[in-house]
Amino acid sequence: MATTVLEPTMTRTAALAKRSVLVDWLTTVDHKKIGIMYGAWAFFFFVIGGVEALIIRAQLARPEATLVSPEFYNQLFTMHGTTMIFLAVMPLSAMFFNFMIPLLIGARDVAFPRLNAMSLWVFVLGGLFLNASFLFGTAPNGGWFGYAPLSGRQYSPGPHMDFWVLGLQILGIASLAAGVNFFTTILNMRARGMTLMRMPMFVWATLITQVLVLLSFPVITVALILLMADRLFGSGFFVTAMGGDPMLWQHLFWVFGHPEVYILILPAFGIISEILPVFSRKPLFGYSAMVFSSAFIAFLGFGVWSHHMFSTGMGPLADSFFSLATMLIAIPTGVKIFNWIGTLWGGSLQFKTPMYFALGFIAMFIMGGLSGVMHSVAPADLQQTDTYFVVAHFHYVLFGGSILALTAGAYYWWPKMFGKMLDEGLGKFHFWTTMIGFNLTFFPMHFAGLLGMPRRVYTYPSGLGFDLYNLMATVGAFFLAFSILVFMWNVIKTWRSSERAPADPWGGATLEWTIPSPPQEWNFDDEPVVTERDAVWGMKRAAGVRMLPEPVAGDGKGIHMPGPSWWPLVVSLGILSFFVGFMFDKPWAFPFGPVTVFGLLLTTFAIFKWAYEAPDAHATNH
């Protein structure tokens, strides 16, 4: 808003060249760099969570095994769940939100670039903080659901669950800030002519996901605050001796937890809805139905949380209500699957790797969806809940759903993000190894569960008939790990290749394919104008061409871009310090010790500096 502060003799390029690479990435507010960092960190955490899973599977390969101690096992499955949900799948989705949303809606950046950078750094620091617990041998051990009173002070002394309670609060800040940011971005930064009903499906999915984040994360935040108060300040919210009720934790957790499931899967739906039309060369079937079904799923998502609690004995009325509400969700979800198949129908299917993964997603998600309907049958759920049947179900949804879709998205958008194509041969090899490994791992779990194997057990006796299924799952898990190695090899191979990707390798329908790969810092030389859904197909049709001509790189002259800033990173450090303080300050003072106070002051200070930072809106190459 103030006048531009620019050294008149220095061009932007020269100014940026002076900064070291490290400083550039630490201070960047560019949504594309932030997106790439989200992806890199999320993949790092994904590998950690995967290694945890492999150790779990190795321990369970045989009955009565003693590979790991029960304590370490409990830490492993707690951190595996927490990591995969909060540090892998959510931020992998965030990678695409960050990189793709401004491109898909034809914007220069997100609404609040610095807030965006803050979300990233808070997420990274929160993730590192959670995993740092392993270094002290005190990783969280009370399950990703942290049920009280086991997670309370009496039954879980030591810092284990403190790491969890504080780590999730930190991560919640990142999610909420990103939620506000992307909600605003999508509603307010769309290209001219891009009405809501012309938005690409992934944008819709993102918008609805942000609504879920904004309305569900405050609930878990409060629940975590209550648990933190119990653990650190001696209150008794979940201590029955004081009149507290463990049921409250369960309700609050699942009021958040169920929408969270849709936070994990809706972006996947969005990615699939982008990929299928492009590789079927045919628009998405039933666009409006897809929009409304997403919205309906999200809304119902707030009314079904107690289906995670059928075994607590809520009474027949509540059980019936939550049973029926849960079944209702099957309808819009079915509509989605049918519409995807409708999109394929009559198309001219192009079998590239993204399409492979997208089709694999549909095939696997149907399975996860149907086992989900089985859970909605409350009496049947009394047999299934907390067994390997549930483990099988949600891995079909989260791996067979989310991860396959995110992988599809990675293959699809890789050329746009990095300017190089991932190898098709390796990609398809990756696909088949994934499908085999995935099904070999998780399909037998259905049976282990139905035959009576509970979840979260570090070992099981022989003679109950679980042995074969567990062995299969373990073999499958290592096969699945191999498929991830194939993907990593593909990435390295692509990295080292010098072949450049064209701007529009797939014949895309959305705006990102009209600009060079990778995009220039300012995204679009001219703000695009949209006149219809699948805007770029419209442009191609209007021009009578199959492919638009390769765009010429612009010089970005006169385009206002936000400048880099240190303050998002500093605020994140302040927030981290604030929360870490609660762990180490206990003996010093109640309730705020020096580290917490320092964190608070640093955060406040940095926010003020941030607020009054000169808006470095310099024009490029003026």
Binding site: E71, N74, Y147, L150, Y155, T240, P246, R281, K282, P283, F285, G286, Y287, A289, S311, G313, G315, P316, S320, S323, M327, I331, G334, V335, F338, G342, L344, G346, G347, S348, Q350, I366, M367, L370, M374, V377, A378, P379, A380, L382, Q383, T385, G425, I436, N439, L440, F443, F447, L450, L451, G452, M453, P454, R455, R456, V457, P461, L464, G465, L468
Partner: protein, 381 residues
Amino acid sequence: MALPRALWRRHLPLGLLALFAVVVLAGCAGENYPQSTLHPKGDFAELVDAVFMKTVWWATAIFILVEAALLYAIFKFRGKPDDPEPKQVHGSTVVEIIWTVIPAAVLAFVAVPTVQTIFKTAEIPASSPDGQKPLTVEVIGHQWWWEFRYPELGIITANEMHVPVGRTVDIRMKTVDVLHSFWIPQLAGKRDLFPNRETRLWFTAKEAGEYPGACAEFCGLQHGKMLFYVMADTPADFDAWVARRMQDSVTVVPMAAAIPSDTVGPAADATGLMDTLTVSPMAQAAMDPRVAEGEKLFLTKACAGCHSLKAVGGPPVMVGPNLGGIGARRMIAAGWMRNTDENLKHWLQNPQEVKEGVLMAGYTLSDAEAEALVAYLRTKQ
């Protein structure tokens, strides 16, 4: 990669299908799965199984139809890059309505029996199939073992619940510490245990047999080894079992054993009580001299501080499981190990090795001492 790719293409679907078949068939094969939810042996489990199988058939039918449609589309509409643009269809309201209504109708077929079963299973029958009043059993969860009380009979036992076939069991549950979940898959679904609220469940065993159960709510370190057995006896066997519990040898239990549940460890002055103790007639009568030795050890080695051997009339609150009839139980260490002499000895000598974190500390026992204890406990039938 030309060769492998061709191989993949040709054999992969078949291979997956074969694997699928093996897994499915293995799961259906019955008798080898004593903890199975698919082979109900009680009325509650049967009600659940009936509604579950309904869902399974619907789900399977839908699965086959939708996956078939998907596969058909994949194979039918393969295109080449230079094919002409296919017809640009944007959707169809009629089709959308159809595929909204049909699943809704299918769900109605699932929803109705679901709600019926919810209400059926929620209601504890007023009388058993055999006409008797249901037998009340109180289940108390502990980290990491199960206590069972029969208030009408005055019996307390642990980790092995005896029920008569044909008589409904009315279960009332509570936990003394964290949440647990009570689950005997062949007889009934799960029900969680809360510290502040009684939860209830019921079932009637239809066939005599030994039914393994497990804790199904994560409850800390040894959640994995919090197992138990339900022994469904014929009415005659059950009466015999009750009679044996009534006659459990009278063992002097130090008063200090009645310690509150949150304190841990042996009664402080258990050894001081030795002077007042007399060896029980039963131990004296036993042929094996180790039995008398074992009884002495049971009292001096602080076992009695946490465990009672009396199923009836023992102290109301004990830290450790009640051991009335321990000699005849199928399993030890909360359903984890077979109750053989060898295992029992190992357990007594190395409880932390068998079940790390369990409250039973290692009271150094020589081999001879452990064997004497085993011999003594074995007499508790």
